[in-house]
């Protein structure tokens, strides 16, 4: 009986969270919350992209020669590449010479030795974003985190502001567990052997136009190494903030989970509200060795442009995980509510036998946003498993495309994939598209694909309203229900934030 009661209490809390979300959604205004900018003195590299700029970025980061050469080689490759045009997105031509490729707060010229030395303006920026750069517990009860353990929990943060990392929390404590968590520029200086071995090994320099561009000009990003057998003692996260105008952000993330290790990593992104679009082209590489597991969650909330489609971030991102060892596991979870244009396909290479890849995605496009996103599951090893759950929500004049590849190679015997893509349309001016590519080159593998498209229908709305909910509340409830599979895969705090985002970006799209 006691056991039963406990289970019931848990249910009660869960239900409670959902309710609070709905309430929070009602209280939050419809506008983009993170559109303000930080008034801070910046130092820019000259506009445009030349070998000199590449050298300058490398020099600013005090990189060794091999790194500079690696970049220059990427730059040469980039010159020969063409911007891809197969995605279902439409935007004016980008003038790559009319951008700043490096922008750093002046106060970061001398790298702060500890968080105490970081420019208060920068600390205030992150505090305002709700990401305090302090080594403090995230207390239970905050934002309805009723499920969190009572003693609170820790999340280590690396904060990237335009082109540089301004600080990383809990580094010492992580180091005690053997976990390296620092900015990639620091890793290049302090752990060159690891960077040399792994950088570009999952996403090769010449992988695609944007990845090649990133390889040439990436200025900072995060680096994680979890040694064999270590379960990372806290969640790691990176918070990306674009602040400078006409500046592209090109960050690079490299995560290495050695044999039998585990890490959960979160990524968040926001940018000020501006009329002119800005470019963001990131690369994330994850290496998962034997029996290791990595969870990578993203809540992407870049400025999406205004209601007429003016401004917003162009988000061209290459994310890939390589399950190198047997029984390696990787899980991508993403909630994409921001950006004017999204081009992003977090992928899994399932090389090890019995390795597993999972992809959970919610992409919400409102107003004139365009999202072309999905995943690639490349099954190379035997008995590999992959699972794709993608939910696309379109409102206003937005276009939302799921594009996914499932590839079963000849040696990937007895492998399985399950794909479920659902689209939800709100209103009649928007579009949803599903573009699955499936290649099976052996007889024993199984691929399942399910796709549905539905509308938030008038019957559901009326039913909710007859029971007393207003329109916004009703849509929030129905859409959250639709997104549930994905939201459940997110870490707690992110799930809360994501649920709110889901509702906010749909606000005003009813009727």
């Amino acid at each position: 009986m006691a056991v039963l009661d406990e289970a019931q209490v848990r249910d009660q809390v869960k239900e409670g969270v959902d309710q609070e979300t709905v309430d929070a959604v009602r209280e939050v205004g419809g506008a983009y919350k993170y559109g303000w900018e930080t008034d801070i003195e910046m130092e820019y590299a000259p506009k445009g992209l030349t070998p000199d700029i590449v050298r300058l970025i490398s020099e600013k980061n005090e990189e060794p020669e091999w790194m500079t050469n690696w970049r220059l080689e990427a730059y040469e490759r980039w010159l020969t590449k063409e911007e891809p045009d197969w995605a279902m997105v439409d935007y004016p031509e980008i003038d790559f010479q009319d951008q700043y490729y490096y922008a750093r707060p002046k106060s970061m010229e001398v790298k702060p030795k500890s968080l105490d030395e970081v420019d208060p303006k920068l600390l205030a920026t992150y505090a305002k974003l709700g990401i305090p750069l302090k080594e403090q517990m995230i207390l239970a009860g905050v934002e309805g985190a009723e499920n969190a353990p009572a003693e609170g929990r820790k999340v280590a943060v690396d904060a990237v502001f335009d082109s540089v990392s301004v600080g990383t929390t809990f580094q010492k404590e992580l180091m005690q567990a053997g976990v390296i968590f620092c900015s990639i520029s620091e890793a290049i200086r302090e752990h060159p052997e690891l960077v040399k071995k792994y950088l570009g090994s999952v996403v090769p320099v010449s992988d695609n136009f944007y990845a090649t561009l990133n390889s040439a000009v990436f200025s900072d990003g995060s680096f994680v190494y979890v040694p064999p057998g270590v379960r990372c003692p806290m969640e790691l996260s990176t918070y990306f903030r674009i602040n400078a105008e006409n500046t592209g952000q090109f960050e690079r993330t490299l995560i290495i989970a050695d044999k039998g290790s585990y890490v959960s990593y979160l990524e968040g992104c926001t940018a000020p509200q501006r009329d002119i679009s800005q470019l963001h082209a990131a690369v994330v590489e994850i290496i998962v060795e034997e029996d290791a597991e990595v969870k990578y969650s993203t809540v992407q909330n870049w400025y999406p442009g205004d209601e007429n489609g003016k401004g917003g971030i162009y988000n061209f991102v290459t994310k890939r995980a390589d399950c190198r060892g047997d029984r390696a596991k990787v899980m991508w979870t993403q909630v994409e509510t921001g950006s004017a244009v999204t081009w992003k396909y977090p992928s899994c290479i399932l090389r090890g036998n019995e390795s597993q890849g999972e992809f959970y995605s919610i992409a919400i496009a409102n107003n004139y946003q365009q999202a072309d996103t999905g995943t690639k599951m490349i099954h190379l090893g035997k008995n590999t498993r992959s699972r794709i759950v993608s939910k696309g929500i379109s409102a206003g004049h937005a276009q939302n495309t799921y594009r996914g590849l499932v590839s079963m190679h000849p040696k990937a015997k007895d492998s399985r994939n399950y794909t479920q893509c659902d689209s939800l349309l709100i209103g009649d001016q928007c579009g949803a598209h599903t573009v699955p590519y499936i290649e099976v080159k052996n007889n024993s593998s199984r691929v399942e694909h399910e796709a549905t498209t539905s509308k938030v229908d008038d019957d559901q709305m009326f039913y909710c309203r007859q029971r007393g909910m207003d329109e916004e509340e009703a849509v929030a409830l129905v859409v959250n229900g639709f997104c549930k599979d994905v939201l459940q895969a997110l870490p707690m705090e992110f799930a809360m934030e994501a649920q709110q985002l889901v509702a906010i970006s749909l606000e005003g799209s009813v009727g």
Binding site: Q12, K14, R465, G468, G481
Partner: protein, 251 residues
């Protein structure tokens, strides 16, 4: 409680008149039944009263405790105490039954300027009410009406009614798709809610539901009007002779 005067309603999409002057008054504490052949306008009346889109009121009025229902949004009518048990309850995937109920209840309380109910109090209250309708914990957790049998859906409607405690309950063909046992359970649920402050309007095609929910007044509706009003015996007359006799009689 509910006052309907000379209500005329057209379909919005096509020029078709469905209600042609309905007059009806349901007092607090009373159960009124509306019976009538298919297409007589019974369900339309329930939709118009609850504020569903697609209908245009061309004439007449409908008030709940003196407040003009027709001026209100559907959720305002709900907060004012109007409840409709749907003939075809709607499925909402991914939304737990409890979440739905609590969101609805708190929305109504908020609209009325009352405090929200705490998770613990709410849970206790729902469990109590669910038990009477033989709704188990599993059904409370499952997504709203998804995969529910016909009987479960209707019991769920009555549970919502019990939780929201409306002043005026409209039941639209609640007996459709129910076997005898399920109907008894639903009727018990409704009877438990009968009290001096609450009015009921039970819309049904058949008399059998009225064996279990004893009406005070029975109305016969045909071609958009109430053509005959009487006591419970009127329902029996329908049962024995069908609608044809009555309709001929009033024609």
């Amino acid at each position: 409680m509910l006052e309907i005067k000379d209500l005329h309603v057209d379909l919005e999409e096509e020029t078709k008149t469905i209600l042609k002057g309905v007059n009806l008054s349901v007092e607090a504490g009373k159960v009124h039944a509306i019976m009538g052949p298919n297409g007589s306008g019974k369900s339309t009346l329930s939709y118009v009263l609850s504020g569903r889109d697609g209908y245009e009121v061309t004439k007449g009025s409908a008030t709940l405790e003196g407040e003009d229902l027709l001026e209100m949004e559907p959720e305002e009518r709900a907060a004012a105490g109007l409840f409709l048990a749907f003939q075809y309850p709607v499925e909402i995937p991914g939304v737990g039954n409890m979440t739905f109920l609590r969101t609805a209840l708190n929305a109504q309380r908020k609209a009325r300027g009352e405090d929200e109910m705490s998770a613990a109090d709410f849970l206790k209250m729902v469990r109590e009410k669910a038990k009477n309708l033989k709704i188990d914990a599993d059904m409370l957790k499952r997504p709203v009406n998804v995969g529910f049998s016909g009987g479960e859906k209707k019991r769920n409607e009555i549970l919502q009614m019990a939780v929201l405690e409306p002043k005026m309950c409209i039941l639209d063909e609640t007996d459709s798709g129910l076997d005898v046992d399920a109907m008894k359970l639903v009727a018990q649920g409704v009877n438990a809610l009968r009290d001096a402050d609450r009015g009921f309007l039970v819309i049904t095609h058949y008399q059998r539901l009225l064996d279990h929910i004893k009406p005070d007044v029975v109305h016969i509706m045909a071609d958009g009007r109430i053509v005959k009003t009487g006591g419970p015996e009127l329902a029996l007359e329908v049962e024995n002779n069908g609608y044809a006799d009555i309709l001929t009689e009033v024609a």
